[in-house]
């Protein structure tokens, strides 16, 4: 078992078009580092200076991880992580 990560359309260039990839780690940050091994460049789209990028939403199962512990949020096998770019503008 691993952690399922759903990837939005604009980030699928890093996953060869896959809308879902798998990874491991005990925190969200570790999971992203793990994904980076197989999908180079993806981590930089999600993380900036050790924190989650402002206009990227990440959900652990049903919750926005900003309401949990951000990149320090614990994750485990069987969890489902979803990445959605924020919809914003001015």
């Amino acid at each position: 078992m691993a952690i399922e990560v759903r990837i939005p359309t604009i980030l699928r260039t890093y996953t060869d078009g896959a809308k879902q990839v798998e990874g491991t780690g005990s925190t969200l940050g570790e999971l992203f580092t793990d994904l980076e091994q197989r999908h180079g460049g993806l981590q930089d789209r999600l993380v900036d200076g050790g924190a989650l990028r402002r206009f990227v939403n990440v959900y652990l199962n049903d919750e926005d991880v900003r309401f949990l512990d951000g990149l320090a949020t614990p994750v485990k096998d069987g969890d489902k992580v979803t990445v959605l770019p924020a919809v914003a503008g001015g």
Partner: protein, 135 residues
């Protein structure tokens, strides 16, 4: 080109007027790959600002999951400008993240008329497109 039913066009304009002077925002969902907007979804502007909008993240998650469950995608992503023209700003362009969507801008800067314009925003490039409102 954006082809949009009159009813959905009017709902967007009404929403923009209602939220003025804050920016209004939302989505028109349609069957995936069809390029047909069918379902109007007004979204909460979590910024509640006259110059910025952002979909509430939890609401966005719910709406995006619903669309996926129904085999839909966001065909139109709309928001309003309350004091400037209905043209994408630099932030609009840098945050545009749905390449298949039509980005609709409504300007509510004039009290009696609303400008309604549509754009494709792909890889940072903005292209205006004609809007066909169908009765």
């Amino acid at each position: 080109m954006l082809t949009i039913p009159r009813e959905l066009h009017d709902k967007i304009v009404t929403h923009a007027r209602q939220d003025h002077p804050d920016e209004a925002c939302g989505v028109l969902a349609g069957p995936a790959g069809s390029d047909r907007p069918e379902r109007f979804i007004a979204m909460t502007n979590a910024e509640r600002s006259p110059t910025f909008y952002r979909f509430d993240s939890t609401e966005q998650f719910r709406v995006w999951n619903d669309m996926e469950d129904q085999d839909e995608e966001p065909v139109v992503i709309y928001h309003s400008h309350t004091a400037t023209e209905a043209y994408p700003s630099r932030t609009d362009i840098s945050y545009a993240s749905e390449p298949q969507a039509h980005y609709v801008l409504v300007s509510t800067r004039e009290p009696d008329t609303a400008e309604f314009r549509s754009y494709r925003i792909i890889d940072g490039a903005v292209t205006e497109e004609p809007v066909a409102v169908v009765e």
